[in-house]
């Protein structure tokens, strides 16, 4: 009987340990990154703050050995988002749920679409879903998984939110 109770305790502990660890990871990694004076932001708000450079971003030009300041590599410097105006002199595409997730030809390649994984790969390596390398003006970002997921959630929010 005692042994059975122990087993149940162990099983319960095991059942909770995974989600608890994930929650701690999110709270521990994302929380401190995005907690402002008004408390923690939700994931989409975190993505928006990263997009606008209100939260620190690590990134550099592919040929460089040093990171550049957040203010000069924030996504909003080049990419308009859904509902926003155009950006003078920018050739970078507008980013929203439709433009990212619809099947479309990008950089002259065959039709492709982004998902969360391929979006993160592009941000980190410059390689798009068709394995075409992005232009060098776009920095390569050193993003954590929660940061990447937050950016993705922010950009596709209008479609799936």
């Amino acid at each position: 009987m005692e042994r059975r109770r122990d087993r149940r305790r162990i099983a319960t502990g095991t059942r909770w340990r995974g989600p608890l660890a994930a929650a701690c990871l999110v709270a521990g990694v994302v929380g401190p990154l995005v907690a402002g004076a008004t408390g923690p932001m939700d994931v989409r708000a975190q993505g928006g703050a990263l997009f606008r450079g209100e939260l620190p971003l690590k990134g550099r030009i592919a040929t460089h050995t040093s990171d550049l300041p957040t203010a000069v590599i924030r996504c909003a410097n080049c990419h308009p988002v859904d509902g926003g105006g155009t950006i003078r002199g920018s050739l970078a595409p507008r980013l929203d749920g439709r433009s990212l997730t619809e099947l479309a030809s990008r950089r002259g390649g065959p039709p492709a679409r982004y998902d969360a994984a391929s979006f993160c790969r592009l941000l980190r390596t410059g390689i798009d879903p068709n394995r075409i390398v992005n232009n060098m003006e776009m920095p390569r970002y050193d993003l954590s998984e929660p940061q990447c997921e937050a950016l993705w959630a922010f950009l596709i929010g209008d479609v799936h939110g």
Binding site: I61, T63, H64, T65, S66, L68, P69, A71, V72, I73, N77, C78, I87, R88, G89, S90, L91, A92, M136, E137, P139
Partner: protein, 221 residues
């Protein structure tokens, strides 16, 4: 700030200077000559005018060295001078930007800021950095000044703008083959003490690579 500092000792530039050995220069020259010939053959000809020869538009040594056009420049300190006068006496890294640009220009500014940090006291003594606006219609003297302040420019980093009518000449001299009013190269142009273009970097070069080329072109202190 555009006032030319003549305290730097004059130097004589030789073809076999520190930037490239004589042998490399000759080898590069042969390649450049072949490339020039290819450009000449491929370029469309209009009338009897020979097409302009471009060398190393994609980065690398410029041989023979090209004299920078002596365009009138307005500077961030409200003085005016010729571009050659602005460049003579120092080895200079030149970038093309416009102050209202939010895309590549801030990255270019940050790259020059990091280059300035790497070079320390050499910037302002025998080496200079120069940001030239390609949008003189919008970039005022105050804007040039704010550009420099934004990236913590020291005394050896200048900003200037050409006259609108000289834009295409300026852009052509510095490797832009597209519309001079809406686009610009993000390469850095290295100009020697005699106002001749000696090197073009790749697009958005690293601060370390700019510093290395500037130091090689300037020689030891």
């Amino acid at each position: 700030m555009c006032t030319v500092d003549r305290s730097a000792p004059p130097r004589v530039d030789h073809d076999g200077d520190n930037l490239l050995s004589r042998r490399r220069f000759l080898r590069t020259g042969a390649v450049a000559a072949a490339a020039s010939a290819a450009v000449g053959l491929l370029a469309p000809r209009t009338g009897s005018a020979a097409p302009p020869v471009r060398v190393n538009d994609h980065g690398g040594p410029v041989y023979p060295r090209i004299e920078v056009p002596n365009l009138a420049m307005g500077c961030s300190d409200e003085t005016s001078t010729g571009l050659q006068e602005l460049l003579r006496g120092h080895v200079t890294a030149v970038q093309l930007v416009w102050v209202g640009c939010s895309t590549t220009c801030p990255i270019q500014g940050a790259i020059f800021e990091m280059t300035q940090q790497l070079l320390g006291a050499r910037v302002g003594s025998d080496i200079r950095l120069l940001s030239i606006s390609i949008n003189p219609l919008e970039d005022s003297v105050a804007d040039l000044h704010s550009w420099l302040a934004r990236f913590h420019a020291g005394a050896g980093w200048l900003a200037a703008r050409p006259a609108v009518e000289d834009l295409d000449v300026l852009q052509s001299a510095f490797g832009n083959t597209r519309d001079p009013l809406t686009s610009h190269s993000t390469q850095v142009q290295i100009v020697d003490r005699t106002a001749r273009l000696v090197w073009r970097t790749n697009e958005l070069p690293s601060p370390e690579s700019i510093a290395d080329v500037l130091l090689a072109a300037a020689g030891p202190r």
